[in-house]
C-alpha cells in the first residue's frame, strides 16, 4: 500500500536518514513533524474513511451480515461477486461509455468556451464588457432547481431532447468556469502580450500562443470541474433522456435500487463504480490541478 510507504516517516522520525525539510529547505523539528503526521492521519481517516467503509460493504459476501453491531470493518471473505451482479443487472459498460462521452464533451466545450469567453472578459476592451461579465455572475447565482422544466421545454423546441447533445448543452460553458478563466487571464502580466503585439501577432495568435499556454493549470481545474459535474449529474440527464440505451451511469446505477427489494451490497458496489473513475482521474491530474490553483485561478 502506497499509503503506508509514504507515511513511514511517522514511525521513525528520529532516524538519521534523509532530513525532512520544508519548501524553503529548512529542517523541520521532529516533534513538529510527528504532530503534523498525526493530524494528517486524523484528517485522512475523516475524509477517506467513509469511502473505505462503503468499499468494505461492497466486498462483503451474501452470507455476511452487513448490519451486525458492532460493525465489522473488514469483509470476512472479500468477494467481487457484487460487482459481477451489478454488471449482470445493468449494462454498466454501455452506461459508463455514455457518461464518458458526455463528460469528455463537457470537458472540451468548457475548456474551449470558457477560455475564449474568459479571455474576452479579461483582456479585450469593448462596449458591453461589464454587461457580459454581469451576465455570467448572475447566471452563477440562478437557482437551477427552479428552471429545469423550462430548460427541458427549450431543449424540446430545439429537437434535442433524448440526445446526448441535449444532456451536454446547458452546462457546456458554465458561468463559474468562465469567471475562473477570466481571473486566470487577469493575473497574467500584460507585458508578455505587449511584446507579441509589437511583433505583429493578432489577437487569435496572442490568445493561442501566449495567453492560453500560461493558464494550463486553470484549464486543468476547469477540466476536472467539468468532468465531475457531467459525471455526477442525475436529474437533468434523467429528464432529457428517454431512451435507456442513452442513459448515463448515474441514472443507470439508480436501477440498482430495486422496485421490489433493495440490496445494500449492490448499492454499495454501484456507488464505488460511480466514484472510482473520478478518484482515478483526479489522482492522474492532481499535479496539474494543484499547479492550476497556484496560478491564482480562484483568487478574488
Amino acid at each position: 500500500m502506497s499509503v503506508l510507504e509514504k507515511a513511514r516517516p511517522v514511525s521513525r522520525p528520529e532516524a538519521p536518514g534523509p532530513r525532512v525539510t520544508d519548501e524553503h529547505g529548512r529542517r523541520i523539528r521532529v516533534g513538529e513533524l510527528v504532530v503534523r503526521y498525526v493530524l494528517l492521519l486524523v484528517v485522512l481517516a475523516l475524509t477517506v474513511g467513509p469511502f473505505l467503509w462503503q468499499l468494505s460493504t461492497s466486498l462483503k459476501g451474501p452470507t455476511e451480515d452487513i448490519f451486525s453491531s458492532p460493525p465489522k470493518f473488514l469483509p470476512g471473505h472479500p468477494t467481487l461477486h457484487n460487482y459481477e451482479r451489478v454488471a449482470d443487472t445493468i449494462p454498466v459498460w454501455d452506461y459508463a461509455l455514455n457518461s464518458l462521452k458526455v463528460a469528455a464533451a463537457n470537458v472540451v466545450t468548457n475548456c474551449v468556451g470558457s477560455a475564449l469567453a474568459g479571455y474576452a472578459l479579461a483582456r479585450l476592451r469593448y462596449r458591453g464588457r461589464r454587461v457580459a461579465t454581469l451576465v455570467f455572475i448572475l447566471a452563477m447565482l440562478v437557482p437551477v432547481e427552479g428552471i429545469i422544466i423550462a430548460q427541458f421545454t427549450t431543449m424540446r423546441e430545439l429537437g434535442l431532447n433524448n440526445t446526448l447533445v441535449g444532456v451536454v448543452l446547458p452546462g457546456c460553458i458554465a458561468a463559474m468556469n468562465v469567471l475562473l478563466m477570466r481571473n486566470a487571464f487577469l493575473n497574467l502580466p500584460y507585458e508578455i502580450e505587449e511584446a507579441a503585439y509589437v511583433d505583429g501577432a493578432d489577437v487569435w495568435q496572442r490568445f493561442l500562443r501566449i495567453a492560453l499556454p500560461s493558464v494550463r493549470g486553470t484549464l486543468a481545474v476547469v477540466a476536472i470541474f467539468a468532468f465531475m459535474g457531467a459525471w455526477d449529474d442525475f436529474l437533468w440527464p434523467l429528464i432529457v433522456l428517454s431512451d435507456p440505451s442513452k442513459f448515463t451511469l448515474t441514472i443507470g446505477l439508480n436501477y440498482l435500487h430495486g422496485t421490489f427489494a433493495n440490496d445494500e451490497r449492490l448499492v454499495a458496489a454501484g456507488t464505488v463504480i460511480a466514484v472510482a473513475p473520478l478518484i482515478a482521474l483526479f489522482a492522474c491530474l492532481q499535479r496539474y490541478f494543484f499547479r492550476g490553483v497556484g496560478e491564482g485561478a480562484v483568487k478574488g
Binding site: V20, V43, L46, A139, G146, I147, G300
Partner: protein, 297 residues
C-alpha cells in the same frame, strides 16, 4: 501602457471580443437566463405543472408571508449560513497550513483530502446516512466508548447539524485548495521576521497569515454563503423529501423542489420562492463585496 495596447487592439479587430464571448453568452442566455426569466414571470402567476395559469399579481408573495413552511425554510437556510460559513472560512485555512509544507507523502494527503469534493453528493449522502444511522458505524463507536446512541437522523436539530457537518466535510478540500493558492503568495520574509521577533505559531497565524489571506477569506465567505443559502442535496438526502420531523428541517430550495415539482406541482408559487432565493443570494454577494471594499480602503 496596457490601456494603449488594448485600444489599438480594438482598432485592429473590432469584432473579435464578441466572437470570443459569443459561445459562452449564447449558452448562458438560452439555457440559464431565458429559463430564469420565464421563472420570474411564473412567480406572478398561478401556473401549475400541466396548467399554464394566469397572472395573479403579488398573490404568491402574499401567500409566502403566511406560509409557516416558508419561514421555516428561511430560518434553516439562514442558520446554514450562520453555522457553515465560519467553519468553511476557518477550517480549510488550518487544513491548508497543515498540508502546505512539503513533507514526504504530502501530495498523497492533499489529494486524499480532496476526495469528498470529487464524489457526487448523492453518493456522499448515501454513505453518510449509512454511517449516521442509529445502528450505523458512528453510533456503534459512540456506544462502545460509553456515550450511548445518538439520534443523528431523528432529532430536528441534530439532523440539521449533521447535514451541516456533511456540507463542511464535502467543502473542506475545495476551500483548502483556494487557501493553498493564496498561501503560496504570502512572502516568507513576513513569517521569518515575525519568527525572529519571537512570535509563536498562534501569533504568527494572527498577525501574518490572516492579514495576508484576508481577501481570500472574503471570497471563501462569499462563495460558501451563497452555496449555504441554496443548500438542497445534503438536507434532502439526510432528512428525506419531507424535510425531517414535521418538516422542520426544510430549506428554501427544498421547498421550491417540493412545491414545484411533480405532476401536481405549483410552479407559480415555487417560482416565487426561487425568486426570493435569487434576490437574497444577490444581496449577500453585494453585502460581502461591499464590506470587503470598505474594510480594504
Amino acid at each position: 501602457m496596457a490601456t494603449s495596447t488594448v485600444t489599438r487592439v480594438r482598432r485592429q479587430l473590432p469584432s473579435s471580443p464578441w466572437l470570443f464571448a459569443a459561445p459562452g453568452l449564447l449558452i448562458t442566455g438560452v439555457f440559464i437566463l431565458y429559463p430564469f426569466v420565464s421563472t420570474v414571470v411564473s412567480a406572478f402567476t398561478d401556473r401549475r405543472t400541466l396548467v399554464p395559469g394566469k397572472f395573479v399579481g403579488l398573490a404568491n408573495f402574499r401567500e409566502l408571508l403566511h406560509d409557516d413552511m416558508f419561514w421555516i425554510g428561511l430560518r434553516n437556510s439562514t442558520l446554514y449560513i450562520v453555522c457553515v460559513v465560519p467553519a468553511l472560512v476557518v477550517l480549510p485555512l488550518l487544513l491548508a497550513l497543515l498540508v502546505q509544507k512539503n513533507i514526504p507523502g504530502i501530495t498523497f494527503f492533499r489529494s486524499a483530502f480532496y476526495t469528498p469534493v470529487v464524489a457526487s453528493i448523492v453518493v456522499v449522502g448515501l454513505i453518510w446516512v449509512w454511517l449516521l444511522d442509529e445502528r450505523g458505524l458512528i453510533n456503534s463507536l459512540l456506544e462502545s466508548v460509553g456515550v450511548g446512541r445518538v439520534g443523528f437522523l431523528s432529532d430536528q436539530w441534530l439532523l440539521l447539524f449533521s447535514a451541516m457537518a456533511v456540507t463542511v466535510w464535502k467543502g473542506l478540500g475545495y476551500y483548502m485548495i483556494i487557501y493553498l493558492a493564496a498561501l503560496a503568495n504570502v512572502p516568507r520574509e513576513l513569517h521569518e521576521a515575525a519568527a525572529v521577533d519571537g512570535a509563536g505559531a498562534v501569533r504568527r497565524f494572527r498577525t501574518v497569515t490572516v492579514p495576508a489571506v484576508r481577501s481570500t477569506m472574503v471570497l471563501v465567505g462569499a462563495l460558501s454563503s451563497v452555496a449555504a443559502f441554496k443548500v438542497f442535496s445534503e438536507v434532502y438526502l439526510m432528512a428525506g423529501p419531507s424535510g425531517g420531523p414535521a418538516g422542520e428541517d426544510t430549506t428554501l430550495v427544498m421547498l421550491v423542489q417540493r412545491t414545484g415539482t411533480g405532476l401536481t406541482g405549483r410552479v407559480g408559487y415555487a417560482s416565487a420562492i426561487s425568486l426570493v432565493v435569487f434576490v437574497v443570494t444577490v444581496a449577500l454577494m453585494l453585502l460581502v463585496l461591499r464590506a470587503d471594499r470598505r474594510e480594504a480602503s
